[in-house]
């Protein structure tokens, strides 16, 4: 289901990732947290009862953060009669493989990569989930973890729904669902913690590599194989390497411990003829030459305050830039008009020759819905 006389979202996005320039810039959205969903449903843009019936018939999902109801609501009227005409071309859906168990101390739940997350309800009654720390801290923890293969391994059923979900969004709403899993750095560092990572990288790199190899063999490779069996249109994996002032670990450590596995991710995806996008927050300028070398097709997030986007555009034309629209200041505190101006300015600077898919730099959190609608309307303007 495409625009009246334009390309479909999938054609548009694949053209961009192939280095060609489509008829207009494409747009993307990672998803939305509970706060944004609450604001949105209490705004003039709220999803109507009639639309909910349609979304139910189409078996869309409203789980957080990959809330397909929200994404579909932005559709143009020829797709959804009371849609917001602020089309989102691409969204994201991540599978967390393996089984979750309750944490030993009763505070939260442990995921297959060893990270502990807490589900809680805030004072205002809005739910939240948050990473609260690693669970693999001592030598005994590592030993126990390595003996838990059965619980950590992905199940086919965890991936089998992806194909239907992706096809429905594409066929009925012209939205590409990029799908993926966590990257190798996040799987490791969220499970063992940054202190353990830094200590092992310096003092016992063999041990750290053994752990990463275990996660690759038990979680990551089988998950990627199951994902690719569903024939995704596009793969995007999340692996936050940066913080505001640079990389979380020294470049040499990233190249020694992370890059070999990230390359395996890219190779498995490319072997099936599918493009690979990495979502990574923070200042990641040091990594671009390595991204080019291992064949990454697109880099997503790219907060403009800490990344020289015009330099990336000029120096690394082979990599598509995704995201780039500041979600913490512009989209949070700006006005619809200032958002529109900034978006047009970014498109002029970064998207003149393709290679650019703008969207908020992270999941939608507490931004005013009118700014988000203004963002997507501006991207569509010719």
């Amino acid at each position: 289901m495409e625009d009246d006389n334009n390309l479909s979202s999938l054609e548009r996005i694949l053209m961009i990732l192939d280095g060609e320039k489509p008829e207009r810039v494409a747009s993307m959205c990672l998803g939305a947290d509970y706060d944004f969903f609450y604001k949105f449903m209490n705004s003039p843009f709220a999803i109507t009862e009639e639309e909910i019936l349609k979304f139910e018939r189409d078996r869309l999902s409203f789980t957080t953060p990959s809330n397909q109801y929200l994404i579909a609501k932005f559709s143009p009227p020829h797709i959804l009669p009371a849609g917001l005409d602020a089309k989102i071309d691409m969204c994201w859906q991540t599978v967390i493989p393996g089984s979750m168990i309750k944490a030993k101390n009763g505070k939260g739940f442990v995921f297959a990569n060893g990270s502990v997350e807490k589900f809680s309800i805030r004072e205002n009654g809005i739910p939240s989930t948050w990473y609260i720390g690693p669970s693999i801290l001592t030598e005994l923890d590592f030993k126990t973890y390595w003996e838990s293969e059965d619980r950590l391994s992905p199940q086919k059923a965890q991936f089998s729904f992806l194909s239907k979900s992706r096809k429905t969004m594409l066929k009925n709403y012209d939205v590409v669902v990029s799908q993926g899993i966590n990257g190798p750095f996040e799987n490791c560092i969220l499970g063992i913690g940054p202190v353990n990572f830094a200590r092992l990288a310096r003092k016992n790199p063999t041990f750290l590599k053994k752990h990463m190899e275990f996660q690759w063999n038990v979680i990551e490779e089988p998950s990627l194989r199951l994902l690719m069996d569903t024939k995704p249109n596009l793969v995007m994996c999340g692996d936050d390497y940066g913080y505001n002032l640079g990389l979380q670990i020294p470049l040499k450590q990233w190249q020694e411990f992370v890059k070999p596995y990230l390359k395996k991710y890219v190779d498995i995806v490319h072997d099936k003829g599918v493009k690979f996008i990495i979502h990574t927050c923070g200042d990641i300028h040091e990594l671009f030459p390595d991204f080019v070398e291992i064949g990454i097709d697109g880099v997503e997030s790219l907060q403009p305050q800490m990344n020289d986007l015009e330099m990336y555009r000029k120096k690394y034309p082979e990599i598509t830039l995704l995201g780039t629209i500041d979600d913490t200041e512009l989209l949070k505190s700006g006005t619809p008009e200032s958002v529109r101006r900034e978006v047009k300015s970014y498109i002029a600077k970064l998207g003149k020759n393709g290679g650019y898919i703008p969207g908020p730099t992270n999941f939608l959190l507490d931004q005013p819905p009118e700014n988000i609608v203004a963002l997507y309307k501006a991207i569509q303007e010719k």
Binding site: Y34, F37, I47, F62, M100, G108, F119, S120, I121
Partner: protein, 119 residues
């Protein structure tokens, strides 16, 4: 009663919250006044989901810590199960029922299924 909710009660709360936010609680439970108790046997105490008039509450039942306590509180049904069965999703619960690890009374499972569409 939402202050301080975390872990299992918070998971159920988030499902009910999403249904309420979309107006589905009002649409699908409009004529119902339902009280369901859930006991995660290795994570007591139990908690009660109370759905009425398109709204809901999740209440911690401090005194309900074992299966034997479940009948001491008035409800429309209850379910008692270990955490790993609960976290195994629909398939986990069905397997738990087959293996007699789940105790159910009333229509607790039907209501949990209705909330489950939010996940």
């Amino acid at each position: 009663m939402t202050r301080g909710l975390s872990n299992f009660p918070a998971i159920l709360y988030s499902g009910l919250w999403a249904l309420k936010t979309l107006g589905l609680l009002k649409r699908d439970f409009s004529n119902e006044n339902v009280r369901i108790i859930i006991l995660i046997t290795d994570e007591p105490p139990a908690f009660m989901l109370h759905i009425a008039n398109g709204d809901f509450q999740v209440e911690i039942l401090e005194d309900i810590v074992t299966v034997d306590d479940l009948n001491s509180v008035e409800s429309d049904g209850y379910i008692s199960l270990p955490s790993q069965i609960f976290l195994g999703g629909v398939e986990g619960v069905l397997e738990g029922i087959r293996n007699k690890l789940v105790t159910i009374k009333g229509e607790a499972l039907i209501y949990l299924g209705k909330i489950g569409v939010a996940f």
